[in-house]
Symmetry: C2
DNA sequence: AAAAATCAGTTGTTTTTCCAACGAAAGAGG
DNA sequence: CCTCTTTCGTTGGAAAAACAACTGATTTTT
């Protein structure tokens, strides 16, 4: 039973020892299942009150549109939680979860687990809060209309986070383009232009924002 | 003390009676404060372990970029909760909260409150899960590159939600354009084109998706 | 009922992005 | 040292979006 050792390190079980985790499982209808290549873990439209915890392997979260087209909206790695928002909001699943290979999933009822461990609930809250923040941040960047503005929004946020006009970013160009949902080459051009205009310096993943040009960003007036 | 009547109806306090709410406040360091026109409720960079519950009035959530430009990222109405993600994730605030008029805010420590009422925590989880879902859905639409694809993504999701190819949407054109972060007139043109191509029918806020043209959407292959 | 305001569609122009292809630079491995 | 590969910047043409301005229709106000 090596899985408990791994679990103690998962954010979801922070502060809980092996004993408490086992106790939790016993009382919260925890269920373990393995999946093989091509199996569906959860289907869109179903309702579930249990969240999924991926113990090993990886699964894909996919969304199907009105005409049957499929898109991968996320890849879940070992240790990650999935379907928790649907379970907790009590909404039917809007995505399906698909196992492209071998995978091992633990399902557990959040509410029941919470009753047995306040700590678990707090961990879950923190986890969801983190996801929420990431989504909100990304949204702030993506909501801008031009590639240039998306870049400035992203880089500005990174600078503020770093507390320094000089900072590194954890994404290469292609990943950044994907993250902002823009074309890589267009983004590259926009970066070059920003550099030419003296707003920005960069080399590889290191960026430096310059303090000039305060009139650059879209400063929406706050109607007092 | 008419505020308790209103609170009993807030999602955050569902299932709790007046007694329990008062009990909760007594033990969770609840603090009430009023703000006047122009006051800052919370400042970016601060840390807080308490979430804000707006009792009356409205406040603006604003984000400041590297150069000092400000953008309104959200308007909080009475009954809404704010700053909860930062409080629960333990991250410093990335936004400021500003009171454009009279407002009354109740601050409360989620963790402490949770200890006194498991129900409160479950409500909070449901609330955050709902926000999360809304964000994820919106992201799915905004991540598409063209206005046409954003529209199809949004409308497809609405049709699936309604369980019917015929459905109403709760937004007018300008609101929809803002929601998808596109230009209204360009969106209008895209809608017209979709209608001409027989993919879509609509009148006012009523839409009808047609089953043909399965090759329309961006069907990304799932590399099984 | 008339006037005003709001909303949605259209058009024309400018700007920006997308796409595909190319080439230079940097890195990995033999 | 050389080749193979990946990454990144650049370019040019086609497509799309942004923007501004206008019209007609509908709704609200007076």
């Amino acid at each position: 039973m090596g899985i408990f050792a791994a679990m103690e390190k998962m954010p979801l079980f922070h502060g809980l020892d092996r004993e408490q985790i086992q106790e939790l499982f016993r009382h919260s209808g925890a269920q373990r299942r393995t999946y093989t290549r091509g199996e569906m873990v959860l289907r869109a439209g179903e309702r579930t009150s249990r969240l999924g915890l991926l113990l090993s392997g990886s699964v894909h979260v996919i969304r199907e549109d009105f005409w049957g087209g499929r898109t991968i909206v996320g890849v879940v790695e070992a240790g990650d939680v999935f379907a928790e928002s649907f379970a907790l909001a009590g909404e039917p699943l809007e995505v399906s979860v698909f196992s492209p290979g071998e995978a091992e999933v633990l399902f557990l009822d959040a509410e029941a687990a919470g009753v047995y461990s306040g700590r678990f609930t707090v961990n879950l809250l923190a986890l969801m809060a983190g996801k929420n923040l990431a989504l909100t941040r990304k949204m702030g960047h993506m909501a801008r209309k031009t590639t240039r503005e998306k870049l400035l929004s992203y880089l500005s946020a990174q600078a503020i986070r770093a507390g320094d006009a000089s900072f590194d970013i954890p994404l290469d160009r292609q990943q950044l383009a994907d993250f902002l949902a823009v074309d890589r080459s267009a983004m590259s051009a926009a970066l070059g232009k920003l550099r030419d205009e003296g707003i920005l310096e960069f080399r590889k993943n290191h960026f430096h924002l310059l303090r000039r040009h305060p009139e650059e960003m879209g400063e929406e007036e706050l109607g007092c």
